[in-house]
Symmetry: C2
Subunit: 424 residues, 2 copies
């Protein structure tokens, strides 16, 4: 992916505060869907603490954007998306456009953000090898990774109806669980509610049923990225997951960040996929592409913060639970997408792929409480007297991410946050 004038660190924006914004300087330009108290949901681009209403300036744009979803934008060829990006970069940096565009800026904190696309299907993968190791070790100390892990990008289908944008509270789910010491299962609120730190991948152009996607073309099918919290009820999961995988332990709610960070914006932050250990098997040819290996990972730092009800009441800042690189993935985005379509399964614009929990080999980068607190054996101390083995009502989990590279303006993903409400 080419680096062009839209990435120029010298480019600045006339939008107040954009140039020093943590997530949305003019080098980012992520898309989303917003609404105001009046009026239908419609497309926007984020700039600093503001957004620009794209439906109001469609006459100025090379691509027509309207409606309540970005699916049509996702379906465009990469070069048309790039044309749109270059135009928006010009509009938001050239001060001469300020008078025409100012009326169409809105403060992000004054609008409601929606899901950016109609999600046809949602698939969650399991590419965070350290997570697979950490979790596998809790179940199978001697043999944490199953024999297929280094050959197959493991994934499974998730639920689309319960995906919500950042900010929508999560009702603590009830469900069946049977702790090992119990004689019989019971039904009630989960006692082991957890988060999972993931990246979400928005599928762009789709493929026809029966037609696989060659890995060399996989990048052309990606429309963007977001943060994804795959909330998990560990007690439900342990009891239900055999033999067909997680179900009610996951499908009660998933939270995504509402801004779609484009592959075009992330071009300067592509790095080589971390090298496989020498004696790991080489993937089968359909999953291997040298170009992808050289630039298939993202130099993105992920962070998780926790804000408890007490911290909120006492004005204590969120506690950072973990931080680590998104490159802790055993398979690249191109590999998971290619694998998904390798049997002819048809992907569609607006499908969402989750990476699976991204963890690290050491605890500062663990991507779930189950890992951090060792399944409840070693509660996490939050520094002001509270501790957590699992999430409590009132807790708020905040995921964030920043892409950084030498000589580049860092760009972020915005927040993916939600608070836990008591079970009903």
């Amino acid at each position: 992916m080419k680096i062009d004038e839209t990435h120029d660190p010298a480019r600045t924006s006339w939008v107040p505060g954009a140039d020093t914004h943590r997530d949305f300087p003019v080098q980012n330009l992520p898309y989303g869907i917003f609404s105001e108290a009046e009026g239908a949901p419609r497309p926007a681009v984020a700039i600093g603490d503001w957004l620009l209403d794209l439906s109001a300036i469609s006459g100025l744009l090379p691509v027509e954007l309207h409606g309540a979803t970005l699916n049509a934008l996702f379906a465009l060829p990469a070069e048309r998306r790039l044309a749109l990006r270059r135009k928006l970069s010009e509009l938001l940096s050239e001060p001469s456009h300020r008078p025409a565009l100012m009326p169409h800026l809105r403060r992000q904190d004054a609008v409601t953000m929606h899901l950016p696309a109609h999600i046809g299907d949602y698939t969650d993968f399991y590419v965070g090898i350290h997570h697979a190791n950490n979790v596998g070790r809790q179940f199978r100390p001697d043999n944490p990774l199953l024999p297929n892990y280094k050959h197959v990008p493991i994934g499974y289908h998730g639920r689309t109806s319960s995906i919500r944008p950042s900010g929508v509270p999560v009702v603590r789910p009830k469900g069946q669980r049977k702790p090992p010491e119990a004689e019989a299962p019971s039904y009630g609120p989960t006692a082991r509610l957890d988060y999972e730190l993931e990246l979400g991948v928005w599928v762009g152009r789709g493929n026809d049923l029966g037609e696989p996607i060659p890995i060399a073309e996989a990048a052309d099918h990606v429309a963007g990225f977001c943060l994804l919290n795959d909330w998990s009820a560990r007690d439900l999961q342990a009891w239900e997951y055999q033999p067909l995988g997680p179900f009610l332990a996951k499908n009660f709610h998933s939270t995504i960040s509402p801004w779609v960070v484009t592959p075009e914006a992330l071009a300067p932050f592509r790095i080589a996929q971390p090298q496989r250990p020498q004696d790991d098997p080489r993937p089968l040819p359909y999953l291997w592409d040298d170009t992808d290996q050289q630039a298939g990972a993202l130099a993105v730092e992920l962070e998780v913060h926790l804000l408890t009800a007490r911290m909120r009441d006492e004005g204590i800042a969120p506690h950072r639970l973990s931080h680590g690189p998104a490159s802790n993935m055993y398979w690249t985005v191109a590999q998971i997408l290619t694998h998904h379509a390798s049997n002819g399964c048809n992907l569609q614009p607006g499908d969402l792929l989750g990476t699976g929990t991204i963890s690290a080999p050491t605890e500062e980068g663990f991507g779930s409480l189950m890992e951090l607190a060792q399944g409840g054996k070693r509660p996490v101390k939050l520094g002001h007297g509270e501790e957590r083995s699992f999430l409590q009502d009132g807790d708020e989990v905040i995921l964030s991410a920043t892409a950084r590279a030498e000589g580049r303006v860092p760009i972020g993903f915005g927040e993916c946050r939600a608070r836990i409400l008591p079970a009903r």
Copy 2:
């Protein structure tokens, strides 16, 4: 569910051949979406070998039907669907309506049938206990059923994008597989392609995220039934399914029958759920309802036929592979629906639930080739010299179903059929 004049065995139709039709006498009246060479997809009701174009007679109906899906119909309260049914029954039985309606009849074999609804999410369950036993025995001879089976209606999410109506050919999928004797996995066309005989359940009225559905209300959330062939690549499945369940082994294609058989049509065919063995655990209260146990099963006979390329060439009739009752389900439809929403997961009109493979304790009722041919150990003889362990290119699998009850006109589901095309 009340039995009314629409079920009267004495009621006949003026539509030619309808009264002796195997599937669609006037007592059935299933809905579907069809199109002709010209014109958009639109709703219809099946009657004999014909269908009635409902968009053309909307002025006569108590419910407005238009558009390319039945989702709005599914979302209606049961009493409004019943009003529509009673009106259609009158229109298609009273000869005085013949002149007005004849122009809006089409032969089913002259139109294209589509998916009846936009499917938001598709979930496949595993309630065929004999299938679970038969398959489990191949993996774990001493302990075929896992400990959760009799407590939890096991289910997992499937893929919506690759669901196709009856008649659309299935491209043999490629994928990764590693036979036990192989040193390493390889990628290629599946060598163990199978079918699975299932019922599909169309979700009607939905529930809000976070709000479970009490089992006493579950029946109100069902809009209809269909047949479902959950095509499966057994070699892909064996290699990929741990620890997160089946994925590419299933999501390359699923076939459903296009006609939605309503709960109203099936009212006379409700029977008691087969009694659980004495020492089976009693389900938890959220999954138990006496009314459901007394009338939660369907007196539906299921059949699977196979037509090979050679049989087609030589004019040999399809070979019946199996037949058995749909009541071979350990959990009722109300139980799987209630369980699905028990964690607050929001179901939506047009969601599709599969029952999982419905099998029998003995081989005449086995619901998949893997069971019939014992994983390839004992190929099925087709009677004219051919045999099958798994499906070959050119094979066509035909699922059918008939509801029967003493003193009632039997009604059927139509066909769910598709032919295997070679891998691309």
